[in-house]
């Protein structure tokens, strides 16, 4: 199996969720993260002290799927999350050796179906 790990803009999460729903995918895990990259940050002032914030708010979406579905899923997420501006994010595909469903103890593809 593959973990599709997408780093997207927070405001694109709703669109990604819709795209996933269209694909019939329900299971996912979402984390609030901060990202740096080409996108430029912001300057803040506090009583004259200047701070540059270059770690910007992003959302990480993780979805484990069967190997064969991973690439299509990644493509779909990319499309849904795209604005075309720098900072849209990345998608990583990471191999997963095994999956267990806690509730039932089931392992393998069935555990994520």
């Amino acid at each position: 199996m593959i973990k599709v790990e997408a780093l997207i803009r927070p405001q694109k999460l709703e669109d990604v969720k819709s795209a996933l729903a269209d694909l019939g995918i329900k299971g996912m895990t979402v984390t609030e993260v901060r990202g740096a990259g080409k996108q430029k940050g912001y300057t803040q002032h506090y009583r004259g002290a200047e701070y540059t914030v270059n770690l910007l708010q992003k959302v990480k979406v993780e979805i484990v799927v069967k190997d064969e579905d991973a690439h299509a899923l990644a493509k779909a997420i990319a499309e849904a999350a795209r604005t075309g501006e720098v900072g849209d994010g990345k998608i990583f595909l990471i191999p997963v050796a095994e999956v267990i469903r806690i509730r039932t103890g089931e392992e393998g593809d069935i555990a994520i179906s």
Binding site: Q11, E14, E32, R34, Y42, T43, Q44, H45, Y46, A49, E50, Y51, T52, V53, N54, L55
Partner: protein, 453 residues
Amino acid sequence: MTKQPLRTITTTTLVSLLAALSVNAYAQGSAPPPAKIDTGDTAWMLTSSALVLLMTPALALFYGGMVRAKNILNMLMKSFIAMSVVTVLWVIVGYSLAFAQGTPFIGGLSWLGLKGVGLDPQATYAATFPHQAHMVYQLMFAIITPALISGAIAERMKFSTYVVFIAIWSIVVYTPLAHMVWGLEGTKGFLAEKGALDFAGGTVVHISSGISALVMVILLGKRKDTSDSRPHNLPMTLIGTGLLWFGWFGFNGGSASASNGLAASAFVVTHIAAATAALSWVIVEWIAYKKPTALGFASGAVAGLVAITPASGYVGTTAALIIGAVVSPVCFNAIKLKSKLGYDDTLDVFGVHGVGGTLGALLTGLLCSKAINSTGADASATQFGIQALGAGVAIGYSAIMTFIIGSVLKVTMGLRVTEEDEIVGLDLSEHGEAGYAEVGSGEEGHSAFGGVH
């Protein structure tokens, strides 16, 4: 207290002396003696002024809790800045335009720069306490009124334009309305003359801001992204509600301009209406959605406070129960209009202040009684008509003037931040700050997300 009579008696005869002694000195002479300060009235007016000032930070919290975290500072600042802008204007010109002798529609310039507004009582407005206390008390009202509008235009209006807007609005909309309703020096204000009752600002404060809010919202257009615009911090909204309630005792109670039975009455009905309206909102919601919400309580409390405001010096406790019970279902439904009609009144300023204020103004005509306040009126169709006139004038005048001011600002300075700035949030884009700089429990508390230069 006893100085006046003693001083004046030294030259008179026994007889007039007796008469003079029996009531007060100026009854005898021709020239009115200087009015005397009553320490209790002064204490209450100063306390009330402080309470009303506190309402603006309270409003900031009430509103602030309802916006998204990325806009929290901008929301707070839109209230706080009114404390500065309106104060400076009021001292220079606003108080004079609102309260000095002038025409039925606007005050004159005799009190410009507070000239002649001193520490002695002033017969018309401050018979028993320093004139400046009246000035500062009224200033607190002038501050909060434009700040009320900020809830409607939240999360998208440019801060610079907003500052200019409230400055102009305060002079062009607020001071004439205040004069029409409360101007009594020399020529009475037009609505005061007609007998329109507005004890503490149903028309002047709530209708004017509520209607102007609606106009601005239409000029501004909707926010770009409202897919999730849930309140980021409802406890903050509830703190604000508690402080507003507390401050409103000064808002309505102080409007008696004395520490007397009328002040107590206004205090009591204010409390009852707030309590009842909060309860009735919660009940309506419980029925409609099966859950009583904290935001519903807060909304109801404020709606009740708004609605009782014009009535507070003219109605008794039973009327307060009625006003409280009625206003919440009305505002609850008024809020639904926005999804139907498609305007984006972010925090429902029109639905609560515009509608609640109008309702309160009208109900005053149906519930007022001279038994509470002999200078008021008894409920009657006529009085209802007068109240409707007052509300109508406030609605019409605010709507037209705000439309003009807003339109001019739209083509000159621009009303909205850019779409990108809106998405990033107004705190960062407009103020270069973050409301909450740190994520995490603070147990080791280091913010991972910034670097100093």
